[in-house]
Symmetry: C2
Amino acid sequence: MLIVQKYGGTSVGDIERIRAVARKVKRVCDEGHQVVLVVSAMSGETDKLIGLAEELSNHIEGREMDLLLSSGERISAALMAMAISELGVKSMSFTGRQVGIVTNDAHTKARIEKVSANRLKKALAEGAVPVVTGFQGISVTGKDVTTFGRGGSDLTAVAIAASLKAALCEIYTDVDGVYTTDPNMVTEARKLDRVSYEEMLEFSSLGAKVLQSMAVEYAKKYNVPLVVRSSFSDAPGTLIVKEDEDMEKVVVSGVAYDKNQSKITIIGVPDRPGIASKLFGTVAAANIVVDMIVQNISHATGATDISFTVARTESKKAMKLADSLAKDLDAVGTDLREDISKVSIVGVGMKSHSGVAALMFETLAKHGVNIMMISTSEIKVSCVIEKKFTELAVRALHNAFGLEGKKKPAKKKTAKKKAKAKRG
Amino acid sequence: MLIVQKYGGTSVGDIERIRAVARKVKRVCDEGHQVVLVVSAMSGETDKLIGLAEELSNHIEGREMDLLLSSGERISAALMAMAISELGVKSMSFTGRQVGIVTNDAHTKARIEKVSANRLKKALAEGAVPVVTGFQGISVTGKDVTTFGRGGSDLTAVAIAASLKAALCEIYTDVDGVYTTDPNMVTEARKLDRVSYEEMLEFSSLGAKVLQSMAVEYAKKYNVPLVVRSSFSDAPGTLIVKEDEDMEKVVVSGVAYDKNQSKITIIGVPDRPGIASKLFGTVAAANIVVDMIVQNISHATGATDISFTVARTESKKAMKLADSLAKDLDAVGTDLREDISKVSIVGVGMKSHSGVAALMFETLAKHGVNIMMISTSEIKVSCVIEKKFTELAVRALHNAFGLEGKKKPAKKKTAKKKAKAKRG
């Protein structure tokens, strides 16, 4: 069986850990499997390089940044190949260019256009374990090094697995799988054995740090079976695959939250056609990603309030735009709230079950949590709430949807009872 | 004027120094020149990477080592391009591959086969300052990263200067030029304004660390005018060019020494044809570089002693071979001396002056320094002596050949007088 394994920065954080991965790889080879490795930069390395660049300049060319940042993975790939060879298993390192990962020219956030993997096939045929630098490719026109952004090594692994038609793509990280919610926040959080690509995409985009969204999208597109598991244990991890009937029986798979959001409101906008288009066109042109949008027309005044959320790092930039737009649009004013968070429930079963959103709202109300914004998709419901209620809301929803191992929603349980159970 | 400038590890050792280089480059550009930069890894970086690799293995594949080591220059090249851009001068980083430095497949000690430099010409035409990663190219068959060995960034600079037909190739380092001898050992050492390629080659191979031999050979072959100068001052440095009549008037240009030598003797070898060939054939096959060789036939016994010197790091390996060869050859035994050093005088003027070697021997004898081995070439004389006499010998020779600024040998001056002069 051909397996692509990706190891993150903490898994290759020092020489001892690199040796541990090499031993693990040898075991898998000894069992008769073929392995291709993808490695991230040693933990801390990428941040160190970014720090050096930021010392030099505030407006760095993406092309130079990519040459700089791609160095980290080259170091860990070379060291990993050495460590595996030292165990008597033939191993060779390869860069993104050498394995034919061709991208567009969007430096620091490049998209993969083509993966040829010819040298990987050759190395595998020669019995070698190829070790590929994660996070990078080569641009189609410039022939320059490009990178995929934070977490981009996941994408490298999936793209190579797709190109080689690997049986499995294993993402080794410092957690042992995908959980029903953050186990640091909810001790009863349960590891999921299987989730669908769609659910994983929602989890990723809703703030769960386990997998990069682009990697999940790529895996979904090419139907690459993904496993997220710990490099520090032999626990089986979570399998991410195509949605099936069993999955649909589970109404809600998990609860996600994101504390890094800000809510901006433009108050009292005259209700004219084209206002939203103008507003969000301007925001998009400034490269600010808007998450949720809510618009409410006041029948009394004929004016409307438009609220939207952005990542908190973008809130100052977005507020500037909002202020100038408010003037242009003859709006009453603007409002910024940074003390918010977004809590979401995710599950493919929602498609065929009713009352899911209602149970979410009811649960939050029961705990005195006011809902500021609501947004829904086919397989998730998100609510913006006051940030101080985040933990309370996540625990209550996790409990209300019976995620501690029970399949049925435990509607009757209250937060008080649950807190008691925890103390017991 | 098109100038190629190379900056060593200490010149780009931290962000502040990188900024200082960027300012210097801007000044040169403002004067109307075109500049191509070549940079080494930040000081300490390459040693750090070697240390990591050595922790993992004792027998590292050159191919993996090259991917590892080439990372250092990529980091400094990217940072340098950012620093120059920050000053408002357009700048782009390039790797060895991107500027078309094609080498043979001899990893970690690759030789340049071809330099196309097309992308450099394009960047220059667009008004940009290209910053090239030193020390690395791409292999002609494997399309893998190759490196040139220690000091290899000098070679990159010279090769690019040759390819671009640059007016000048400046090597910026932490000393301000080539000296008549080591200024740390002899305070009267004088900076040379000009030396010939041949003399510089001797200096480099005799232990002077200022320039890599391969770089000087390449410069000589393509007649690239080289300048060695300090990156921390505006002093003019030393120009290295083709030998001319003026140079030949100077009998001795400098005194070099090398304390990292060992002397191995095979004692009492029966005097038969083919012995030396067998001995040095075996040593060469083990990839040990032999420097000096002396063979003396004893007319009394009909047996011979063969002595040779190797770098001290190789002495254990070489002694093993010598011991087994002594057995094979029915020799009496072997002897290893590590307490030796090699002192040399160099000068193109020797070709047309007699008595140079004689003055050297006389000077050493006058100071009670016993000569253990002698080796001569057209433009140098080397003597192996006891290591403890190194400083004494170098100072005496520097004085005897009048290198403190006078052009004529000061034959009458004794070490005693010189010592007095120094105190005065």
